[in-house]
């Protein structure tokens, strides 16, 4: 079938963005929004990496006076907060934003303006934290600010409030993004993509979104309670006044533990997609992979006390959380088995994305195993709050989330830009990043076992920690250099990379059916799906349905389990309301650091913005009695 140029022309005018700055601000194109999320997150990753190098440099020699303790404490707080709240979760959301409609053969997300709002609010959080840093009111109590240290008595001033409000920004943004992704996956699948025919990547994003919805309210609640203790003298966490310091930890970690799986589970989606395409066979154990993701998602909510093994809680509880924390290794291990089994029975190709998957297995499994060690409540009493834990969480976060992310970046780069990244420089970057990371962080396991606690701006001479710290610094430098090569490759390839065409890797899923780069409306026709690997099916040409409007924006809504077409939903056009609403919320959040009156007054502003957003644009009643419209 040859595409109809008149149809394409009309669709292009319907779905195109207005030009220039107005289009940039008002766009609701999920790909543009995702791209700005990713660019912002990569920039922040660079800044956080610079903070890390500064700290590593400080720790290279004992009793170093180069950094003051205040500066160092700000650095680890800013590094951790940036990486966990402003990079890891947002970048996974961004990959979902970008890929989910494409993998579903859909023209946009379920709630396009909500997606734009999520980005602007996230940006508000980024600016809150980093402008505060530029103004020297950087939060300095770590990425999880326990009271009483974070309470009004021991941390006067606004540093802790900046931290708490930055979190509110990013969590509201993440919650909105999660509702958006979940609704898209549940209600906008192509005809024939029953839940049984839904690729593992989409399962991963769905589960991660649901986990976000159920866990982020905890941190929103607890940071609001902390601000409240600090600002209006509530006593949630004051031990002397009927409050409880440990309540903070329970509420925080009820969010904090699922958070790390919210970061990891999308990465398992990336790995599944890459392994399938680069093994050139359908994933082995599809149901095992899906059930593993679901059980990891569920189990993740039952583990949080393992962050509190040293608090002195009742032993019976500690026994339970030990067993549960170890149990999560079963679904994780089965996932790894399925991926290796796919390679074992496939025809592997060693392009850069697949090399990142190999690096992921090599590195993440170390992190998973050190996690099994810390899962023991007893052994954790030696390991927690030391450099062993620093090693563990970097291995699982960098190895388990960032390496798959880099692989995914290389894999889908051609789809986003129409160009290929350089394989040679990609491999050089990989060796630098992976080799440097392992050199930098493996010694930290030993440092922890040798007694070095975490969050220390210096350490005494004569402890035997000097050499390992120097090796850690060297490895970190190499890793950052590798990262710079990676970014340079991405930037240069944008203009000089070989043209990729629609499907350079012979991928299995629907995103490879669109052009590269995909046009604003993604697909002119709606694909019909008969299997888990629609692009590999024997039936060519690809079956599609026509009939979605081309003169106004419209998307297809299908049923939740069977993806049967239900109705055509109007899809929103570019709009100013997302940024307006985000600005209103930003004003309220920032002002409430300084006065509680900001909450009621700010709410009025937000109410006005939301009214504008949701005000339906239908004709007003003309003359005569009000009646039913067309």
């Amino acid at each position: 079938m040859t595409p109809d140029p008149a149809l394409e022309d009309q669709i292009s005018r319907t779905w195109g963005d207005p030009p220039g700055l107005w289009g940039f601000i008002a766009t609701v194109d999920h790909k543009r929004i995702a791209a700005r999320y990713i660019v912002t997150a990569l920039l922040l990753m660079f800044l956080a990496g610079m903070l890390a190098l500064d700290m590593r440099w400080q720790l290279t020699v004992p009793e170093n006076t180069r950094m003051t303790p205040q500066l160092y404490n700000e650095s680890f707080s800013l590094h951790g907060s940036t990486m966990l709240y402003l990079v890891s979760v947002p970048v996974m959301e961004a990959m979902a934003f970008w890929l989910v409609p494409l993998m579903l053969g859909a023209r946009n997300m379920a709630f396009p303006r909500l997606g734009a709002f999520s980005y602007w609010l996230y940006l508000g959080g980024v600016l809150t934290l980093w402008i505060a840093h530029a103004m020297d009111i950087t939060p300095d109590l770590g990425w999880f600010e326990y009271p009483p240290l974070a309470g009004p008595a021991y941390s006067p001033g606004h540093r802790a409030d900046i931290w708490a409000q930055m979190i509110t920004f990013t969590e509201v943004a993440a919650l909105c993004a999660s509702v958006n992704v979940a609704a898209t996956i549940l209600k906008m699948r192509p005809p024939g993509m029953t839940l049984a025919r839904m690729p593992v990547f989409l399962w991963a994003m769905l589960i991660a979104s649901i986990m976000t919805i159920l866990s982020m309210p905890a941190i929103m609640l607890v940071t609001s309670m902390l601000i409240s203790d600090r600002m209006v003298s509530t006593h949630f966490f004051s031990p002397g006044a009927g409050g409880d310091v440990i309540l903070f930890q329970h509420l925080f970690w009820f969010f904090g533990h699922p958070e790390v799986y919210i970061i990891f589970i999308p990465a398992t989606g990336f790995v599944s997609s890459i392994v399938e395409t680069f093994s050139r066979r359908r994933l082995f154990g599809h149901s095992v992979l899906v059930l593993s993701i679901i059980s990891i998602g569920a189990l993740a909510f039952g583990l949080w006390v393992h962050h509190m093994f040293a608090v002195g809680l009742p032993r019976l509880g500690n026994d339970f959380y030990t067993a549960a924390s170890m149990a999560i290794a079963l679904p994780a291990g089965l996932q790894i088995f399925c991926w290796i089994a796919t390679i074992w029975s496939g025809r592997p190709r060693f392009d850069t994305p697949m090399l990142w998957v190999i690096a992921f297995v090599l590195t993440f499994v170390i992190g998973g195993l050190s996690g099994i060690m810390t899962a023991s409540a007893a052994l954790d009493l030696q390991l927690t709050d030391t450099y062993f834990i620093v090693a563990h969480f970097h291995y699982v976060l960098v190895g388990g989330a960032l390496f798959p992310l880099f692989g995914a970046f290389c894999y889908w780069y051609p789809k986003a830009t129409g160009r290929m990244m350089s394989e040679r420089w990609g491999k050089i970057a990989l060796v630098g990043i992976v080799g440097g990371f392992n050199l930098g962080f493996f010694p930290m396991h030993l440092l922890g076992l040798m007694g070095m606690p975490r969050r220390v701006y210096t350490y005494p001479t004569g402890m035997g920690w000097d050499t390992l710290n120097q090796i850690a610094t060297a490895g970190s430098v190499i890793s950052v250099l590798g990262g710079l090569v990676f970014v340079a490759n991405a930037v240069v390839s944008y203009w000089r990379g070989a043209p990729s065409g629609a499907d350079p890797w012979q991928g299995s899923t629907l995103e490879w059916a669109s052009a590269s780069p995909a046009p604003p409306w993604n697909f002119t026709y709606t694909p019909v799906v008969h299997s888990l690997t629609p692009m590999w099916d024997e039936s060519r040409p690809l079956p599609v349905m026509e009939g979605l409007a081309s003169d106004h924006r419209e998307v297809l809504i299908t049923s939740v389990t069977d993806a049967a077409p239900l109705y055509r939903q109007k899809s929103t056009s570019p709009s100013i309301w997302p940024i307006v609403a985000a600005v209103a919320v930003t004003i309220m959040f920032i002002a409430s650091i300084f006065t509680p009156w900001a909450v009621p007054l700010g709410s009025v502003l937000i109410g006005a913005a939301l009214t504008g957003w949701f005000w339906p644009l239908r004709p007003r009643a003309k003359q005569g009695p009000l009646g039913r419209g067309a």
């Binding site: 958006n180 309210p217 009000l626 419209g629």
Partner: protein
């Protein structure tokens, strides 16, 4: 280099309707998503209340007054009564009755405004200020959380009422009325366990 794959049209979507009702509708799911978020928040605040209660030697702590029952009772009764117009407007929305959704939403708005009166008195009769101790803080937390929902519903119903009375109503707006009614029901149902915690847990312990 390869372009998009060759395609073959096997059917048409143009016969599909352009709106839907209830859980078939996309926005219904967004509404559920936000109810899940807020419901989780309520559940965690209730868990915080129960945690502090189990850690305290006495509840309420010695010297703290019990919350007065009168205004909480009035609010709860009024809230339960408001569920009647909420369910009625839901039926009208599903049946696409223009007059019903206009007047029903107006009635909900009036209920929302009226509810703020006993709610205000509830705050005044909680018996303990929020800054006195952990008990006072967590009781105020629960009541403030629920009140923000009542205020939000009042706002949403009020804006909807104004719009409905001045415009021709289409299918999407019937869905909006449905979603508003469902959220109202959520606010009513969420109140019940919180009511028990604030007013009866300290009397039972």
């Amino acid at each position: 280099m390869n372009g998009p794959p060759d395609m073959e049209i096997v059917g048409t979507l143009s016969d599909l309707p352009t709106s839907a009702v209830g859980s078939r509708h996309l926005v219904w799911w967004g509404n559920i998503g936000f109810m899940l978020i807020e419901g989780t928040g309520f559940a965690l605040a209730a868990a915080a209340y129960l945690y502090l209660m189990t850690q305290a030697p006495a509840w309420p702590p010695k010297g703290d007054a019990l919350p007065g029952l009168l205004w909480g009772g009035i609010f709860t009764a009024l809230l339960l009564v408001s569920e009647i117009p909420a369910l009625w407007v839901l039926r009208c929305a599903r049946a696409k009755k223009v007059g019903g959704v206009r007047w029903g939403t107006l009635i909900l708005t009036l209920f929302g405004a009226a509810l703020l009166v006993p709610r205000g008195f509830e705050f005044a009769h909680l018996g303990v200020p929020w800054h006195q101790d952990g008990y006072g803080s967590v009781v105020w937390l629960l009541l403030v959380l629920h009140t923000t929902h009542v205020v939000t519903e009042l706002g949403e119903s009020a804006v909807q009422t104004v719009w409905l009375f001045t415009h021709q109503i289409g299918d999407d707006q019937f869905s909006d009325v449905e979603d508003n009614s469902n959220y109202w029901t959520f606010v009513v149902v969420a109140w019940l366990p919180i009511y028990v915690l604030i007013y009866w847990a300290p009397r039972a312990v």
